[in-house]
């Protein structure tokens, strides 16, 4: 009777049923499989669950439904006394979700025991990271959580898109979970350039051979801190004139020469022409020379000290502002901001 039922099921899958299966969504197949499992129709359940898992996407099963389908498939196969198939289903499940544990209220102990056996012999790691991380300050890191099926040795490294090693992050044993941090820098401490990278986790078997690798795509964008523009120098319109146009100088010359003439004629005016000491001509000469010097000096543009001081204060104020902004910009140029976008992890190498 069982054989007939299986044949019927196979016929249903191989003949008209394929068209029906293609017509049905994977989620519907999953529902049918679970109902068959509940009805203890394990053969039908196995066939339908395999069909649901085999559906190419889209629309394929979601990761959660896929885990559910594999858990029920493993239990189904165990009840069909196909222990190897059950173990294979659980193994596939653990690769999808290494953190999965069977619900003991749903599955009997023999299912949990087999799952546990499979888990302890399966070496796989699930990788999760926030979709967007920013590394601004020295203490900022990209935080990656690793969840392992069992204790085993792993190696975590960041590779360039072409597979060249950028930096090793971890090498050692892992337990249930492990947090790995990356500061966005290369092995030499320099900030990584913008581009695509892969955070790769290699799980090693008992012989040291890599049995599974998971890659987490990282899209890294590097940006420098924005600089502040320098203030414009004081506009010419704000500057006061520093020189006044030179005068004629005639007044200075006249003053000097007139005073010199007074010195020369003073004895005549005072004493009625009685001589006069010769030394007075030195005074008259000094006054005459002073008048000529004053004539020359006054013809030159005259400085306006108050305006010069005001302009200097204006320039000094601008210079101070510019120096402060230059220092601020120099500090900002030293700051490197990294934005890391993490993609969906995928097994990059399954031996």
């Amino acid at each position: 009777m069982k054989r007939a039922a299986v044949i019927l099921a196979l016929v249903a899958l191989a003949g008209a049923p394929p068209r029906a299966a293609r017509a049905q969504a994977p989620a519907e197949l999953l529902g049918r499989g679970l109902r068959a499992y509940q009805d203890v129709d394990y053969d039908s359940a196995a066939a339908v669950l395999r069909a649901a898992l085999a559906q190419p996407g889209p629309p394929a099963l979601s990761a959660a439904d896929r885990v559910r389908a594999l858990a029920y498939l493993g239990a189904t196969e165990l009840f069909r006394e196909r222990r190897d198939s059950a173990a294979a289903a659980f193994g596939r499940l653990l690769l999808v979700d290494p953190r999965y544990r069977p619900d003991e209220l749903v599955f009997p102990p023999e299912v949990s025991n087999l799952f546990q056996e499979v888990r302890l012999t399966t070496r796989a790691v699930a990788v999760t990271a926030p979709p967007l991380s920013e590394i601004r300050a020295a203490g900022d890191r990209l935080i990656v959580w690793l969840y392992a099926t069992s204790n085993h040795r792993i190696e975590v490294a960041v590779l360039r898109a072409n597979g060249v090693l950028l930096r090793n992050l971890y090498s050692g044993a892992t337990g249930d979970s492990l947090q790995v941090l990356w500061d966005g820098r290369t092995a030499t401490g320099m900030p990584a350039e913008s581009g695509l990278y892969v955070l790769r986790v290699d799980s090693r078997g008992s012989g040291g051979r890599v049995v599974r690798s998971v890659g987490l795509p990282l899209d890294l964008a590097q940006s420098r801190g924005d600089t502040v523009p320098l203030p414009p120098p004081p506009a010419e319109a704000l500057m006061r004139p520093e020189h006044a146009p030179g005068g004629s100088g005639v007044r200075a010359l006249a003053t000097g020469l007139a005073a010199a003439a007074v010195v020369v004629v003073l004895p005549s005016l005072v004493s009625g022409g009685s001589g006069g000491m010769g030394e007075r001509f030195a005074v008259a000469g000094a006054l005459g020379v002073a008048g000529v010097v004053g004539f020359q000096v006054r013809r030159r543009p005259q400085q306006i000290p108050a305006n010069i001081a005001a302009n200097q204060a204006l320039r000094l104020s601008w210079q101070r502002q510019a120096d402060a902004i230059r220092a601020e910009n120099a500090a900002r140029r030293q700051e490197v901001r990294l934005v890391v976008r993490a993609g969906a992890p995928r097994a990059v190498d399954t031996p």
Binding site: A252, T255, G256, A258, A259, A260, V262, V263, L266, P267, L269, V270, S271, S274, G275, G276, M277, E279, R280, A282, V283, A284, A286, L287, A290, G291, V293, G294, V297, R298
Partner: protein, 214 residues
């Protein structure tokens, strides 16, 4: 009222209001040396003496009013004539008003003495002086001229004084933003005895260094 008293009263009246309204702003002074020549002429002859005198001035400036005290002393030796050497002592106290920054009007007593072994000749003159000062280079170099007239004069030599007048011209150099200044000036004044019995002309070239107000 004599001319001397009238001048003094007028000067005091002019100075009273500004003095009351002004506080002491600053003081100044200078000291220097002067080359002095005294020419004493009498009808038909005379003598000339020359020498070096030390001199000093002090000023107290109260806004537009200032008080000036001066003193000079030196020894004059005979260049011509039969007279011997004599000492020159000269002092004055003036009150000055500045109706304009470039103009000063002064008044006060001016005393001069010639001290010789044969006796001392003392002159007392109440003088009025008008001084004008103008810049050649603003703030640095100034020229000045001054006219002097004795409103009254007396001397202890017969037949007595008949008057005196004089003048001064020179230049002052002041350092930029400095309280120090230097002055080079030529001064001449002449005093007469009554009846032109004798005229005494004193000339001096003065070089002095000052501090503070001028």
């Amino acid at each position: 009222m004599s001319a001397r008293s009238a001048a003094l009263v007028a000067l005091c009246a002019l100075a009273a209001r500004p003095l009351a309204a002004q506080a002491v702003r600053y003081a100044g002074g200078d000291a220097g040396v002067s080359r002095v020549r005294l020419k004493s002429a009498v009808p038909g002859g005379g003598e000339t003496l020359s020498g070096v005198a030390a001199q000093g001035q002090a000023r107290l400036i109260l806004g537009r009013v200032s008080l000036e005290v001066s003193y000079a002393q030196g020894r004059l030796s005979a260049d011509t004539g039969a007279g011997g050497s004599r000492d020159l002592v000269d002092g004055s106290v003036f009150v000055a008003l500045r109706p304009a920054p470039w103009l000063a009007v002064k008044g006060g007593p001016h005393l001069r003495a010639y001290v010789a072994p044969s006796g001392t000749e003392r002159w007392v003159m109440w003088e009025s002086r008008v001084r004008a000062e103008g810049p050649i280079i603003a703030g640095t170099l100034f020229a000045h001229v001054e006219g002097r007239l004795a409103l009254s004069s007396s001397v202890n030599v017969p037949p007595g004084a008949s008057g005196a007048r004089g003048g001064e011209a020179g230049l002052t150099l002041r350092g930029p933003q400095s309280p120090l200044w230097a002055r080079l000036a030529y001064v001449v004044d002449q005093a007469k005895l009554a009846g032109n019995a004798r005229t005494e002309t004193v000339e001096a070239v003065v070089l002095s260094i000052g501090f503070g107000g001028r």
